[in-house]
Subunit: 217 residues, 2 copies
């Protein structure tokens, strides 16, 4: 067979994952990609018709990486569902610290950079977000009985993602993990208020004038 070795393709994807994260999509030139991956232009076009096609592959790579790199380590670190959500967030905290505050979520960065006309890329970005939200939803499902009746779990999970993304963003410009920590600690308070322990149920009165009156706490 006359195809270049599969490792060439992998090298291109790995380089693109790093460079799009480090320099952005527009900030990564074709020659940056070829030099970083040590691949020649002919081999590139054997695998990808354009930088945009490589971007889609990178976004697919992140979709495939969600379970092994984001969800599973957090699920192994904690058993309790809410603790698992905060373990996912702690993973991002680690990334902020390990990169000396350079860290920006690669998907978040691309969400803000890629032109909205590039719908195929934005659909894959949104799919990354939705799968992340789905992982948090799995955790929330297990404590749904402790939440106010009618709580929209998907909305709560979206909220968690929004806080991760915003927290990472601020920490990058502050050069400090403090904004991330502050946001996460407020989220912790949010869950504390939302999920008061079952043992307290009897001692807390319902509140009038709110559909949350029926909340099981």
């Amino acid at each position: 067979m006359d195809k270049p070795s599969p490792t060439t393709r992998d090298r291109l994807v790995n380089s693109a994952v790093f460079l799009f994260w480090d320099r952005g999509f527009a900030g990564t030139s074709m020659s940056d990609l070829l030099a970083h991956s040590d691949v020649n232009s002919g081999s590139f076009y054997h695998f990808f018709e354009s930088k945009e096609a490589l971007l889609r592959e990178v976004l697919d790579w992140y979709i495939r990486g969600l379970r092994p790199y984001i969800a599973e380590p957090a699920f192994q670190a904690a058993d309790e569902p809410i603790a698992r959500i905060f373990a996912i967030l702690a993973g991002y905290r680690e990334r902020i610290l390990q990169t000396n505050f350079r860290y920006g979520c690669p998907i978040g960065r691309l969400a803000l950079e890629i032109d909205p006309e590039n719908q195929p890329a934005h659909q894959l970005i949104a799919q990354n977000f939705k799968n992340w939200v789905g992982v948090v939803c799995e955790c929330l499902d297990q404590v749904a009985h402790r939440m106010p009746k009618g709580t929209d779990l998907d909305a709560v999970a979206t909220y968690v993602l929004v806080i991760m993304e915003g927290g990472v963003m601020l920490s990058r410009s502050y050069g400090s993990v403090e904004p991330f920590d502050r946001a996460v600690s407020q989220l912790r308070e949010h869950f504390r208020l939302l999920l008061a322990p079952a043992s307290k149920l009897a001692s807390r009165p319902g509140r009038a004038g709110s559909k949350k009156q029926t909340a099981r706490r």
Copy 2:
């Protein structure tokens, strides 16, 4: 005097504000800037030593714009302090809708794009964020007496900014205002839980095992 007219400088700044928002910093070439502002290269370098210097001017422009363009319209739309915070957020919702979901917060975009080595720019980005947080803090100060004792108002205000930034980001890739709306409605719930009306104070028991036991609600 032999300086070019001040309007030349303004045109450069206005074009950079638009282009850095629309295409990003790396995605805006020097020739894009000159063509969009109808300024020649010599005039550019009369005012700015580099694209980076123009970026700093743009970030200063946003700092100056916070009160007139973000805070004041919201403060005129509502009197009650928490309503003012949600009026600021409603302003971003409008921007998301008006731009047909293309909107990305220009400061957030630059926070994730600009190289962390570019400290002068990141300090100005952080200053933008801090001033925004300061505006929200002004509102929170007025309802501090309704919050649990010891609540870190700056942390709550940072939380609001984090949610705005993350919500705008997700809405851009989803092509829908829904993630922003969901995040804001959870934030509303957070304030509802944090700021239970004074009239309910007497009916709610303190909770053991928490320093929030002393919360005035």
